[in-house]
Symmetry: D2
Subunit: 348 residues, 4 copies
């Protein structure tokens, strides 16, 4: 049984990691940290875990040396800026690390610093592998530091990869109109995330090139296309808990039929157990992936206007964060990719 | 006191008309029809109206001659195809008509027939005025038959009109990524609209040029631009009751600053009491217009990618349907535009 | 035009007062206070009010002397303990006061101090009138300080008053199983009120005689019954915004038929414009009163078990707080009871 | 691998059975029936199951002989009245049956006929075992026909069993104020279950001794108490998908402290893996059991009024229906009780 540490348990990605590990056959939660709740049992803050493995873990203050001694792998579910320090220390101490923050996702430190803040552990960036299993499984198996992808990038990259890899569409001028459930806003006390501010409403935010997932998306799309990709990325907040649905508009580089693109997509993702290319005529729904690792993708050609429209749905905190982190840990330790991650979507 | 008839009271637009008329100072509900509920009192099917004016109206089978005798104006809240017949008959009988269906919205009968079905009362199309008060107030005042705009068109046209009228952006290649609350799916018994099929989820539908509001939007945008407009219109279903939010992407025809476009929009809609151009930095939310006639619009230039992004929110069944219908009736009878329509948005 | 002041604008009752006054024909918002948002315009914190009367008011720090100079009536939407001080000062300065907190609701200072905290302005308790218009309209008309009832007490007292006044049921051993929307939890930043902690869930709280509305309910029920009333009051949190529904169980003191009690209730509340005793067979729903002053009550005799079951629904922040406060102000200034409060319920 | 048949796949309990069996290690879905969808693949009607075991099953018309040949166990997820016929036929054909309807729950055929309809297979009633594993595990292991408990009875009986078995409270005069998510209303097309009729609202239904779960609850409580139990059972509809929370009021038969009852409950349910008696001060929430087999129970003494208040939460379609059905099948085939049922609750 592998022993996992969890740094930052009070947010939704930390909560989801604790939930997933509670039923993982080969990895168990051995340590969990929280500055605000140190000294409490995990099931005191998350009563839904009562009676499940890991529920009895007592939260501690974060301490890299202590975690390195007690754990085989440590998941970092703390904000960017915080993660880089403890992540690099844990890496140096020889423990495997999966970082759910953005700190090691961008290969170019300058780009990181433009969009985020000064990077204090730049030397570790090159040690990190971008943890999207469908694309980087080989590298992840060999990695000791995995930069777990962002939620919007996961949904966007899986949807666009086949089209860009095959040169079907123009990598510049892509529009990603993305909608996320409110778990994406985090678990901090904040008036704007209160039930009565979110329920029965819908709103855009960070419209017009302001969201920090843009450079991450463009980095991976550029690699796929082999030339610079630019996206107008525009997120919205949904009155749901879990789920992202991205509606993506790309200009077809050359005429292509619905059937051609459909079969290209089906071929491209044939071996990927979690990417479900929907049959023509079906469209994704966030509930169809709730609590699961699936990414449901539909391909539509708007022949009147010449746009290729991709719709892509994931569970943002499972597939787009904590489940993906566990998949990466599975790969790092030679376990089956989907071990502990086989839950059917919870519908309704 | 003017007497209003309401044909088709069992859907959400019929319900909303009954609600609005219950507090209108100058128009009262005098007749309401429903095939399935004929013989029942209005408040037996809508108990929330108990004790309010109109609640005591007994529903009857629809009968144009009878309605024409008893009413000064008749609102049609029945499906397209049904509305054209009774609407034309009522018009011929001399009563004023506001038709909430699509039957008289498209000036070209051939376009109607391409998107909908055969039109059996083509001769009345030319009698109808498109009932968007901000643009056609003069014509509406003189009209006897008003084609009330669709909900998506209302949100889209008000957002794009200034930009197209001033040639700011290319009228071809516009993308409208629209999200609607579930009242838009109607009040028919249907598994796909059940609470448990819609709640805590989000889904696209009619992706890729299939929604019937497309020709209506293109008709009005073409008139605004003075040359053919084409849109890729893609709707989604929100787990909310009321509200539409459209995120609209248009290519800037020439470089323009955020400030220029912001002030152009503020000037353009200065005299329109219901169009609120939000200050730079604010974005619309559907709840901010809930139960009201407001259309909140924000203008954003994505300078990295050259897209003009418009976000526009309305209450789909008030502003986008029944409230707009009452506004049109107000104009037709020389009443103040906003009489009976001054409710503040219900937030939260 | 009467000038109103509003102390504490950042909570949901403050927001609702601003919303109601925006369309009140005879009272306009002249001053509003907020420690945290002083210096900002009202519509900067509540964009849904943009363009409506009062939206331009600039928030100030609370100052009783200043408010007394500028206002005819001041509404207090601040927490208990805070309200007693500024409320008493405003009263002494001669301005009329409607206090939405609990500070002046309990006639017995000792009871107040048992359930709340030390009372520092005890001498003003006797000056206050309990502001339930259906029961105390005469006293409210003459009052200068009105203690606006709590939300749960409003729904509970209106439902039980006829039965207790007529001795139909035993005033001891009453059970009130109450369910409230999340606006009742306030607008403070708090993890437990986040969307993702409340949505798609349901929970009890303060079970077993711990909620502070108990002494207020018992005070009024005791007055109605003419002998001591005791209630087991147990609240629950609903994943909705507005609305309270109380299910109330009382032992019949003597055999009584459904019909007898139904007609007694209809007679009792005949003259009360906002209490709607539903016809036998109908039950209340919170949405049927949303955004309105109605209290919908159904009477059911469970003949198998001998319980009288009352179900009662109100909008907790309109009828159960801010709308009721405006009704009290209407009475205090000789205006029609329902002036500015005639909105039809917003359904759906 | 055991082969399971599923009669009636289009409702929520059928959907949930398909979902649970998709990840069950020892039972796989071999046949599924649906009159309306015969000929379609399971994942055509439930796209969330795409790619999971069982998704490829083609739906057929129900046929007892055919099912008996192809299956080791058949789950009946059809309405009462329909289930008794096919259930008895399958039983006679020698296949094991778990019936999720009410048809074999009531030991007294006369009581069944009073509350439901004429019973056409009375001779099979005595063959059936009431499938509440915490109470009847031994009998279930030996059974060939299991009457799966209702959702409300599951939550109510587990909460009251310890108190009644130990004579802590009076079995007459119990009040069960129950609240259920909308999956409980079924998956039939119906206006009253539409999203816009349920969301952001809350309503009671069947108030006053009218719900058909009453005789089932009273049957089991009477057995526990050893003398006749009567309940006033009053259900409400919650705007959530999954979940029941029952708030139960029982008169203490003799004085008892919170601590005594708490420790009695903890002892009573010590060996039951799914019943979680919450520590004093904690209360259940429906989300804490979502998608799981847990029943969370809290014990509170309202010492002011003498009521014992039990709050009890389950997932109505997992624990209260389909998950419990699978647990019963596990027992019938000698599998571990919780095989395939170990999912952690999905929070948030």
């Amino acid at each position: 049984m592998l022993k996992a540490g969890l740094v930052g348990v009070t947010g939704y990605t930390g909560m989801e990691l604790a939930r997933i590990l509670a039923t993982h056959p080969s990895i168990r939660l051995a340590a969990a940290t929280s500055r605000q709740d140190a000294g409490r049992r995990l099931d005191a803050i998350y009563p839904f875990l009562r009676g499940l493995p890991g529920a009895e873990v007592v939260l501690t203050e974060p301490d890299a040396a202590d975690l390195a001694r007690r754990c085989d792998v440590v998941f970092l579910a703390v904000p960017h800026g915080v993660a880089m320090e403890i992540g690099a220390d844990l890496y140096d101490a020889g423990v495997r690390v999966v970082d759910l923050s953005a700190d090691f996702r961008l290969r170019d430190a300058g780009t990181y610093e433009t969009w985020y803040k000064p990077h204090t552990r730049k030397e570790h960036i090159a040690c990190a592998v971008y943890g999207l299993p469908e694309i980087y499984a080989e590298q992840i198996r060999a990695a000791r530091l995995v930069a777990n992808p962002g939620c919007y990038p996961t949904a966007s990259i899986l949807a666009l990869h086949p089209a860009l890899k095959h040169g079907l569409c123009d990598p510049s001028g892509i529009i990603i109109d993305a909608k996320s459930g409110t778990t994406g806003a985090g678990r901090k006390a904040s008036v704007s995330s209160l039930y009565c501010e979110v329920a029965d409403s819908f709103r855009p935010y960070n419209i017009g090139g302001r969201h920090r997932h843009i450079p991450e998306i463009e980095q991976e799309l550029t690699l796929a296309a082999g030339r610079p990709a630019t996206v107008s990325f525009n997120p919205h907040l949904l009155p749901i808990g879990r789920g992202i649905l991205a509606t993506i508009y790309a200009r077809l580089a050359r005429p292509a039929s619905q059937e051609d693109i459909q079969s290209l997509y089906e071929d491209y993702w044939k071996g990927a157990p979690w990417v479900r290319v929907l049959p023509a005529g079906q469209l994704p729904e966030t509930r169809n992936v709730r609590g699961s690792m699936f990414c449901d993708i539909a391909v539509t050609v708007d022949s009147r206007t010449g746009w290729l429209i991709l719709t892509s749905a994931i569970d943002n905190i499972c597939r787009g964060a904590s489940g993906q982190a566990v998949a990466n840990a599975n790969l790092m330790f030679g376990l089956p990719l989907d071990e502990g991650l086989g839950a059917a979507p919870l519908v309704p």
